[in-house]
């Protein structure tokens, strides 16, 4: 009898003193072709989890000031990671598993737009909020979903950004840019990005599309693709590629002496710092939009602090897509905290109405529109100069002036 009472007391004590843990599913490519990026995103989400669950007085974020979620008795957040291996069907299955078996209250992910699409459909089916960090396909927020939110600027916004930047180069530097080629991977991200280029180019006078080159997702060589680009003689190449294929393209551009004036990249391979490690000085002068760059760390103290925590884990600086997925983790935790509940409908209401503070972004805040798209998405145009991703436009965030012409390969 005495033993029984002891056990009962122990059980009750566990129930009373145990801290609540709120589970959030995080679906990313942790193995497979994009695993290098997926693993880095995982580190960023682990940093977000540490900031939320611990006390970080030198990080100026509401959730960093107290242990856990202050409005929920210090409840801890736990991100449950799942691996979609760049496979949309796996992403869907993992979303289902996380909701049904792990009982997560929300989902984040999936980096690949092609994986985010089916996974968020599952979240919609179960009435669970889904906050995508870096998935950029505009199609994601055009589906009329109620439970889906996206932090990154979509590729339609990025395309507008590209053409505004090209006009800036024309006006300020007299760059003669008219012939545009779009080169893209054959998946959700690449195909939709290219559609945006083909659609938006009509809006901007003085530009014409001279090449539309789609390559297979598991490409073994890009010789033919580069030959087609070479034949089209574009002034501007716009890439929607990942790190491996992007690196192969640059090597072939050099080998076949392809000489565009400007190369721009949607979020993807170019933003990964591995691009510079892979290519050394050949990576210089490539450009692309980015949610952040290490050059901005000296201008933004909180970003520098987040990077310090991130670098201790990953060994590299935080990059744009990774920061966007970090933001997705912070936003969903903040929404739960403000809602003071894990009830999905209450979290949804907060996501729909609240403006979230995001001082690690150049825009400083996040607010979702009726379609779930972050209205304050703000990117800077970066260009690799001497191996560093410099912010080159808009001028307000400029860390260095852009180089508007691609120098010859043998004169670098």
């Amino acid at each position: 009898m005495k033993k029984f009472f002891t056990l009962v007391v122990m059980f009750i004590s566990i129930l009373i003193f145990a801290e609540d843990v709120i589970k959030i599913g995080a679906i990313f490519p942790l193995t497979g072709p994009a695993a290098a990026t997926g693993v880095k995103i995982k580190y960023a989400i682990e940093v977000a989890q540490e900031i939320i669950n611990g006390v970080y007085p030198d990080v100026d974020l509401d959730l960093a000031k107290s242990q856990g979620l202050s409005n929920l008795n210090g409840a801890k957040i736990q991100f449950i990671f799942a691996d979609h291996q760049a496979n949309p069907e796996l992403a869907m299955a993992e979303a289902e598993r996380l909701i049904q078996n792990e009982k997560v209250v929300a989902l984040i992910g999936c980096y690949h737009s092609s994986a985010t699409k089916p996974a968020s459909q599952i979240a919609e089916k179960y009435g669970i909020p889904f906050v995508a960090g870096s998935s950029s396909s505009a199609a994601l927020t055009e589906r009329g979903l109620k439970w889906f939110f996206r932090i990154a600027p979509h590729d339609g916004m990025e395309t507008d950004f590209f053409f505004l930047y090209l006009n800036y180069l024309k006006e300020k530097y007299g760059a003669n840019l008219s012939r545009v080629a779009v080169v893209y991977i054959d998946n959700e991200y690449g195909v939709h990005a290219s559609l945006m280029v083909k659609e938006k180019i009509k809006k901007y006078s003085g530009f014409n599309l001279v090449a539309d080159i789609k390559y297979p997702a598991n490409v073994t060589n890009v010789d033919i693709e580069v030959q087609k680009i070479r034949a089209a003689k574009p002034d501007v190449i716009i890439h929607a590629s990942y790190i491996g294929d992007m690196t192969m393209f640059v090597k072939k551009y050099k080998e076949f002496n392809v000489m565009p004036k400007v190369v721009l990249s949607f979020c993807g391979g170019y933003q990964d710092p591995q691009f510079v490690i892979n290519l050394g000085k050949d990576a210089n002068f490539f450009s692309g939009t980015n949610a952040t760059t290490s050059a901005l760390f000296s201008k933004m103290a909180i970003l520098a602090k987040i990077n310090q925590l991130y670098k201790a884990k990953s060994g590299v600086d935080i990059d744009g897509p990774t920061l966007e997925d970090f933001a997705s983790a912070m936003v969903i935790a903040e929404a739960i905290n403000i809602a003071k509940s894990t009830d999905p409908s209450k979290i949804l209401e907060i996501l729909q109405t609240q403006t979230f503070s995001a001082p690690y972004f150049v825009s400083g805040k996040i607010k979702f529109g009726p379609d779930g798209q972050n209205l304050y998405s703000a990117s800077v145009m970066t260009q690799i100069l001497d191996g560093i991703y410099e912010a080159v436009w808009p001028e307000a965030f400029q860390t260095k002036e852009p180089v508007p012409y691609f120098p010859e390969w043998n004169k670098r």
Partner: protein, 284 residues
């Protein structure tokens, strides 16, 4: 431009051929489908990469080591797995090598992470030949010449040497070959080692052009299956010509119909040939 595209296709096709020659030997001789063939190549690519990364060895210098590693991998696979399955139904070997392939890829990922690695600078990188509008990169050219040489050497070895004839005899009838005094066990081991040598050379030649990562052998392995079936099982020159044919089809088809279709065109040719000639173009 068409000449440039055709040249590019032939150069790419030569490398496909070399990957396929090793596979066709094993398939033709032992009736064993080695699903891990592309992964052996990946291991040799990593060997070259690490020798470059740690000691700054050029792929030229690493070539013998990468070949030894791939040949040893072939031998070990034979000793530990294939030997037990030689007389078993073909499906058993197929499943075993499929499992081996998964193991090698995941083990590579565990050891070296899934990051894409590149050999930065080698003796050949950046060098090229320019004839008017035609540009041929040295790494690609060297890979193609290397492929032709190795294929030629293996073909001569099989055709002209005593051991090569023993290999042919074993392929035609194992029992009779044994009665004639051929140690078929050794012949099988040797075949797996030669298959390893082919992917070892191919991996070394490709490591200067193609990124090194755990999945880097996967697509080459798949294309090798198509090429072997197209060229005729066990036919070395068949695999060589079929490799070039696939490279050309990929290049010309990709250029004129759209690069997204380049693999689809290769697979379509394969299906068409098998419809009319199931033993492949050069099969007997």
């Amino acid at each position: 431009m068409i000449l440039q595209i055709a040249l590019t296709g032939i150069l790419v096709g030569c490398v496909y051929s070399l990957v396929s020659v090793g596979l066709t030997l094993v398939w033709g001789l032992m009736d064993i489908i080695n699903f891990a063939h592309g992964d052996f190549m990946m291991i040799s690519m990593y060997t070259v990469f690490w020798l470059y990364s740690l000691f700054k060895w050029d792929p030229f210098i690493s070539l013998p080591i990468a070949v030894i590693v791939a040949a040893a991998l072939g031998l070990t696979t034979y000793k530990l797995i294939i030997k037990r399955l030689v007389n078993a139904p073909g499906l058993m070997a197929l499943l075993a090598t499929f499992g081996l392939s998964l193991f090698i890829r995941n083990f590579a990922q565990f050891l070296w992470s899934p990051n894409y690695r590149f050999i930065g600078e080698s003796i050949l990188s950046g060098k090229r030949i320019i004839f008017g509008d035609i540009i041929i990169g040295f790494p690609q050219l060297f890979a193609a010449v290397g492929s032709i040489l190795i294929t030629l050497l293996i073909a001569l070895f099989i055709k002209r040497t005593r051991i090569g004839k023993a290999i042919q005899a074993t392929a035609q009838n194992r029992d009779i070959a044994e009665l004639m005094g051929v140690d078929t066990e050794k012949i099988y081991m040797l075949t797996f080692a030669i298959s390893g040598i082919c992917v070892g050379v191919a991996g070394t030649l490709l490591s200067g052009i193609f990124p090194v990562y755990p999945e880097s052998g996967a697509m080459y392995g798949l294309l090798a299956f198509v090429i072997v079936a197209l060229g005729g099982f066990g036919n070395i020159w068949g695999a060589f010509y079929a490799g070039i044919l696939i490279g050309l089809a990929e290049a010309l088809g990709g250029f004129y119909f759209g690069t997204q279709f380049k693999y689809a065109i290769a697979f379509l040719i394969y299906l068409l040939v098998l419809q009319f000639r199931p033993k492949g173009l050069f099969g007997w």
